[in-house]
């Protein structure tokens, strides 16, 4: 069925324009003349640094905690598995500000866990770098877990069984047989998780607040700069866009090279 359908193409073009136009507009309105000055400002550099630190830490947490979790979901059957899986993937669809409120209720100073942390150890989480990492990690981890789980589940058991008959133990099997073969899934999951962590706003501003140099990430800086110096906001926005494009391109290149 090779006939081109004009209607299908027309609708497709509308869709593409819808997605592309705002991005094109962003790039078009950037005040290139002020680019250097804005990027050199301490506020911009601070926000960028905070964003990088928070998003990378959130990614590491997502990978370290998420890999065993994905493994268990993919390979073990146990009571309540279905429910736990739903819970683990829920932050993906939860409105970010709702996530922020939930984090406050758990880790805030009057939170279920937070109150004890303050009482026993004097540890306060909201408004700290840790809070920003928790907020970003909370919304980003499910993206990694979902992708990793799909990778583990789709890997034929035969490879691990063969490795076992060769006398190779569990950990070495995982490192040298499983991981290399699911690497594309893990990479894709990590890329999406990182991008999500980088762009996190609602949960961050609610739970971690807006402390310059500590929790003021790029998205927060963009939001607030919009009311102070819109052109600065455009520049920061375009930087975020550029980073997102690079992450996407990098992930695709990695996937294709395998």
């Amino acid at each position: 069925m090779n006939r081109r359908s004009p209607l299908v193409w027309a609708v497709a073009w509308v869709g593409i324009s819808f997605l592309a136009l705002p991005l094109v507009a962003l790039v078009a309105r950037v005040p290139w003349a002020r680019l250097a000055e804005i990027l050199a400002s301490s506020a911009a550099r601070s926000a960028l640094w905070v964003s990088l630190q928070v998003s990378v830490t959130a990614l590491v947490v997502s990978v370290v905690l998420g890999t065993p979790l994905a493994w268990v979901f993919a390979r073990r059957d146990f009571r309540g598995r279905s429910l736990l899986r739903t819970l683990a993937l829920l932050p993906m669809v939860l409105p970010p500000v709702v996530a922020g409120v939930a984090l406050l209720l758990a880790f805030g100073r009057r939170g279920i866990l937070g109150q004890h942390l303050e009482a026993l150890a004097g540890v306060i989480i909201p408004f700290t770098r840790t809070a920003a990492v928790l907020a970003a990690g909370f919304v980003a981890m499910p993206f990694f877990v979902s992708s990793a789980e799909a990778g583990f589940a789709s890997l034929a058991r035969g490879y691990e069984e063969a490795a076992a008959t060769l006398g190779v133990g569990r950990w070495r099997r995982f490192r040298r047989v499983v991981l290399p073969m699911v690497a594309p899934n893990l990479a894709a999951g990590a890329a999406m998780a990182w991008a999500r962590a980088l762009g996190e706003f609602g949960a961050t501003i609610t739970f971690a607040g807006n402390v310059p140099g500590v929790t003021q990430t790029m998205p927060l800086a963009v939001y607030l700069q919009l009311e102070q110096d819109p052109e600065a906001a455009f520049v920061l926005a375009v930087v975020l866009l550029a980073i997102s494009v690079m992450v996407l391109a990098g992930a695709r290149a990695f996937g294709r090279s395998r």
Binding site: G158, A164, L166, G167, V168, R173, V177, M181
Partner: protein, 339 residues
């Protein structure tokens, strides 16, 4: 170092019980129809399948004993396995695959199995026969104390199968640990193994050498084995001499050799046939038995042979006991193996 197996595996709708012992250097074939439980048996020995009750001893180490609560993990049993799907690691070259769990330098296994030119290739670039050799090399390099092969030739096309079978026979002869080989092809059982077990519906129905098993087959499947024409003779290049009869063969062979002819490859004629077959002799029909939808015809002659023909063909040839027939076998249908 021997392998002693006594297992009972229970699964919904299926149960398997088997007891046998394989001595060092012996190759035992576990043959039988599909679904008999052959693969399950191998998986039970390696610990990949849950065993209800039983005992498995590899050399002097008990790897499984249900009454003593011993159940070693697969990686600690020292039982190597070549799977039907080979499962070569796709992200490693052949050399890396073989070296992966090798005890000692992998080079001798790569060379020994003729993989030298393929060492830097990836599994996706190998043919069926090459992949099988690579899987075997990988398993042997890990110095197993027993070796299991699950349908080693099943994934190959008919042409490759013959060549690989003879190579495999050579390699297995050089292995000095107990070998268990699973197959549904009677020819594999006949030519690769020292003795065999026939497994049907989860139970061992026959046990012994080919001759012993086929002397009095108790089940239809065993009877199929009986139909394999197997001869011992002397190879002299392009031919093999068996009991004074010279048969032309496709592959040169020298010295003591085995020749196998599948019953379905034997053509029967009323008169001496003209044309291509070079292996022709005269004989007398001494028995006709039904074999599924066909007939198995035993012929005595310069060489005794069993042919498998359709009932229509039998009618046309007016086959009956004591009838005179001419036997013709194309050279290309004869498989030879160094004995």
């Amino acid at each position: 170092m021997s392998l002693s197996v006594d297992v009972a595996v229970r699964r919904p709708g299926f149960d398997l019980e088997a007891t046998f012992e394989v001595a060092s250097g012996q190759v035992v074939a576990v043959a039988g129809p599909n679904g008999a439980g052959k693969t399950t048996l191998l998986r039970a020995i390696t610990g990949l399948e849950r065993v209800e009750r039983g005992r498995v001893v590899v050399g002097d180490i008990t790897v499984f004993d249900s009454s003593a609560g011993i159940d070693l993990e697969t990686e600690r049993r020292g039982v190597g396995m070549v799977f039907q799907g080979y499962w070569l690691f796709p992200h490693m070259t052949v050399a890396e695959n073989v070296a992966f769990a090798a005890r000692g330098p992998a080079g001798r296994w790569i060379e020994g199995l003729g993989l030298g030119d393929l060492a830097d290739r990836y599994p996706s670039e190998l043919s069926g026969g090459e992949a099988q050799r690579a899987a075997l090399a990988r398993a042997l390099a890990a110095a197993p104390r027993a070796l299991l092969l699950d349908e080693p030739l099943a994934a190959l096309d008919v042409e490759t199968r013959r060549q690989v079978r003879s190579e495999l026979a050579r390699h297995l002869a050089a292995v000095d640990v107990p070998v268990v080989l699973v197959t549904h092809d009677p020819l594999d059982a006949a030519l690769l193994a020292d003795w065999m077990l026939i497994l049907e519906n989860g139970r061992v129905t026959h046990s012994g050498t080919l001759t012993e098993v086929t002397r009095r087959p108790r089940t239809p499947w065993a009877a199929r084995l009986a139909g394999v024409n197997l001869y011992r003779g002397e190879g002299i290049g392009k031919g093999i001499v068996i009991e004074g009869v010279m048969l032309a063969v496709p592959e040169p062979v020298d010295g003591p050799a085995l020749a196998a002819i599948a019953p379905s490859a034997v053509a029967l004629h009323e008169e001496r046939p003209a044309g291509s077959p070079r292996n022709v002799w005269r004989g007398e029909v001494v028995g006709i038995e039904p074999a599924g939808s066909r007939l198995r015809v035993s012929v005595r002659g310069d060489l005794d042979i069993v042919a498998e023909v359709t009932t229509e063909a039998a009618e046309t040839l007016r086959l009956r006991e004591s009838a005179e027939v001419w036997v013709a076998v194309k050279a290309s249908e004869i498989e030879t193996y160094p004995a």
